[in-house]
Symmetry: C2
Subunit: 197 residues, 2 copies
């Protein structure tokens, strides 16, 4: 889809890892389609995952009792969040498609990505990850809650136990999916009453 | 239980928060019992939650392809992990009881605590949190996997929507539980076959 903007939020320490390959193949395929692809490489950027009062520049609205949620919301309205958060939020806002690319480590996320979501999207909301029995992150969690339409996840299970050939197959199947990703429909998510609305 | 050592791993930015009160009451009650209580106050310590190659001092065992898990394990054997990790691991090793005290933010953990667990215990394993329908962190996850016997969690739901009186009741019920915590039996956890043993 020529002209579309894609943001890949990528969290892995080793560029030559399986995760690195999945990211590289996504950049290649989407660029081939004429998309503009931006990668937020969180480890390479040394992204700050700690949500602290340093995220708010200028005066706090309730200095006597620090609440990150309250202060971040007020600072967002006044555009007084720290510059690395504003830069990431701008990328998210401009993107037609945002991808999160990270190792599952069974069913976990690395702290640096958790920090990205906490600081850039909304702090600490419903961060349960697609586990063995549910898909809470997607259906009830951060992404849907923050207003994303969510596509089905793409999970490559246990690449460290797969053969080189099988891993290449996993990378190829990701590239294959990306060819038609713009035609995909969002998955059903939790209704508004789930959030008390 | 006089003479017992307790480690409280505490993650909250605001000392005067509800979480701060729960931590303070635990320190008071356990000290009263004659325990030695150590608090790792992760925000106050500015604890580094990013798991990176900086955690390994000296040479890497596989410099051509960085794997955090491999390198951290080798460095642990050689005692060449970075000093803040070694200090935390020592506290864990010496403790008879370890408590994790943090806001759930619905069913999430803050990135800084996630980073503590990743760097100090074992990276990224099975970090699903007691959600609405499961209790994976405890039964299958990081703690049990790392060799802890796990007591039932103590959760105070939605203190921000409770009255001042109700919040005081929550803090009091935590203090009450601590009076007999040394008599508690561990909860049943996943059997060894769950981990492929």
């Amino acid at each position: 889809m020529a002209g579309k903007k894609v943001l890949i939020v990528y969290a892995h320490q080793e560029p030559r890892s399986f995760n690195g390959s999945l990211k590289d193949v996504a950049v290649a395929e989407l660029s081939r389609q004429g998309c503009t692809v931006t990668v937020s490489d969180l480890y390479a950027m040394d992204f700050e995952p700690r949500a602290t009062r340093k995220d708010i520049t200028g005066a706090l609205s309730r200095p006597e009792f620090f609440s990150y949620g309250v202060e971040a919301y007020e600072a967002w309205k006044k555009r007084s969040l720290t510059s690395d958060i504003i830069a990431e939020q701008k990328k998210v806002q401009e993107a037609d498609l945002v991808m999160f690319q990270f190792p599952l480590y069974w069913f976990s996320v690395p702290a640096v990505l958790k920090g990205w979501m906490d600081r850039v999207l909304c702090q600490g909301f419903a961060f349960d990850i697609p586990g063995f029995y549910d898909d809470g992150l997607l259906k009830h969690g951060t992404l849907h809650f923050c207003g994303f339409k969510v596509l089905a996840p793409h999970i490559s299970f246990a690449p460290e136990y797969a053969s080189e050939e099988e891993r290449k197959g996993m990378v190829a199947s990701w590239a294959q999916r990306l060819k038609t990703i713009w035609n995909e429909e969002p998955i059903p998510c939790s209704p508004p009453w789930y959030f008390g609305q």
